[in-house]
């Protein structure tokens, strides 16, 4: 993308990669960074749209009136009968626990 004004600085990009928890090769980084800048250019169009101050945001297009709104759930216990089936999907399982590498901590003096 030639438009540098609308580009995401490399350090911001690297921070996002970190936040997204991706281990990436250089080529992949370059492709993704380039595509992001390209997309950002498409998004910039939004900034030019005049918006009335009182314009509400839309979170779901459809409006849920009282006739269409599902009721909240009653507080009734229904036991799941195939918990083992869920657990067998785990890459590492021991004594019923799902096992992952540790998160290190450090003691203060």
């Amino acid at each position: 993308m030639k438009n540098t004004e609308n580009s995401i600085p490399r350090d911001v990009f690297d921070h996002l990669v970190d936040l997204a928890a991706f281990a990436l090769g250089e080529d992949e980084k370059n492709y993704l960074h380039d595509q992001m800048n390209h997309q950002l250019n498409a998004i910039q169009e939004l900034e030019a749209i005049p918006l009335p101050d009182d314009l509400p945001t839309t979170t779901h297009g459809v409006e849920y009136g009282d006739d269409g709104k599902p009721a909240l759930r009653n507080d009734e216990w229904v036991a799941c009968t195939n918990t083992q089936e869920i657990l067998t999907q785990a890459p590492e399982l021991q004594d019923g626990y799902i096992v992952v590498p540790d998160i290190p901590t450090k003691e203060l003096e």
């Binding site: 993308m1 030639k2 438009n3 995401i8 911001v12 990009f13 996002l16 990669v17 936040l19 997204a20 928890a21 991706f22 281990a23 990436l24 992949e28 492709y31 993704l32 595509q35 992001m36 390209h38 997309q39 950002l40 250019n41 498409a42 998004i43 910039q44 169009e45 939004l46 900034e47 749209i49 918006l51 314009l55 509400p56 945001t57 839309t58 979170t59 779901h60 297009g61 459809v62 409006e63 849920y64 006739d67 269409g68 709104k69 599902p70 009721a71 759930r73 195939n82 089936e85 869920i86 999907q89 785990a90 890459p91 590492e92 799902i98 992952v100 590498p101 540790d102 998160i103 290190p104």
Partner: protein, 530 residues
Amino acid sequence: MTNLVNCSALELAEMVRARQISAEEILDETLTRIVEVDGRPGALDTAPAVDDEKKVHAFITHTEELARSQAQEVDAKIAKGEDAGLLAGVPFTVKDIFCVRGTPSTAASRILANFTAPYTATPVERLIAAGGVMLGKVNLDEFTYGSSSESSAFQPSPRNPWDLSKVPGGSSGGSAAAVAAGEGALSLGTDTAGSIRQPAAFCGVVGMKPTYGRVSRYGLIAFGSSLDCPGPIARNVRDAALMLQVIAGADRADATAATQAVPDYLREIERGVKGMRIGLSPDYFRITFPDPQSGEYVEQALPAHMQEAVWKAAELYRSMGAEIIENVPMPNTRFGIPVYFVISRVEAASNLHRFDGVKYGYRTKQAVADLNEMYRRSRGEGFGPQPKLRILMGMYVSAAQYSEQYYQRALKVRTLIRHDFENAFDPQGPYRLDALLTPTTPTTAFGMADVYGDSVMMQYADQLTVPANHAGVPGISIPAGFSSDGLPIGIQLLGPDFSEAQLLRVARAYEMATEKEEWREKKPSLLEGK
């Protein structure tokens, strides 16, 4: 004997209920068709083979055993004189973005390649409960992120049955291709920006995106949660209506599934369009996109053959007694894609957070020093470029310092897009439309690899379909002839919230009016003589 694979779902179910044919016979014939046309299913780490270009490759997973037992169950019910359901013996496929208990549910991604779902998505459950026979899980863009199905981690990706050098569209490409090629009468797809309607248009079949919330999303591996709609793909309008009948309705597992009663979609489907107001909007006859070289916005009229299909349909409707309202302004249509770039990415980035190698799916095989490295490697190796791109973009535009500039703004522009539709459909408003008639796509199916890799241009293929997702309104794409190079053209009908019955009726009227036209006789070259 009738060629069962070409029969409609309605015909099949009727024949099964009338004991003229068994569900197992239908299944056998459909499996034979699949063997003939589909070729090898998509798989991870496959080298391309020359033969791949001659087949459809709709599938990722065949569920023949499951299908067999479902067919036998239907036949057993029929034998006992029990009600075997609206879809008795009708073979269908499921886009592999839905969880189905006991089957691999991959989202066409390496990160879920080894995931076997422990539960079944509500719409799939309803299809099976209605007597449907599930043939398998069909291919799509990885996590639905694309408009060509090429980004699947499971290669070869599906091809367009009308021209195997073209894409079937996406992301429900496997669904549309399967239905077009007679591999099942129906397919369950999802539409977040046009992912049902666009591939339906590319493959010459019917695809409907229902109103947001009309069909439960429970079990649909989420992409853009505020936009995702499961919906039917079928070879004709009545089949789409039948399938919607089965899958629509409230679901206690989905707090956004609307509770309005589901009408009988078939009852009045053939009552025509007399007295209806059908609109045309100039904003749907052009697209606006950033030039890939300069970044400048270019406004471009749709190709003549795409426009003509719509005008021809409008004339037909007029001749059937509908009032055609021209020049309905839908000025915010062009913002659909930029808004989508923001909203869908924010939701997608969050929805894909759960794929972390902890409790299911892919975990890196490499030795790792700590948890963070496990995350980074698992996600780095497990996701393909499209999910990565969407996650990063979503993180960028929702980061605290940019959220106001992009995300909050996009939600407001979404309101403007919704207003366009409210204005057009308002019964007290200036246009009072029953339906808006538009092209489904800017072009017919493009060539394999022609657009793939350019995430922006790929996205603009959805420009005419995505506004309905923002607004939540229903839309349907139906076949409307062919381009001079023999590729299907789709036209789209959009309607107000929960107007599916009406849209299906308008769509069916077109189908009836063009029943005798020559192009209706055409079959995909792949199926010549079959």
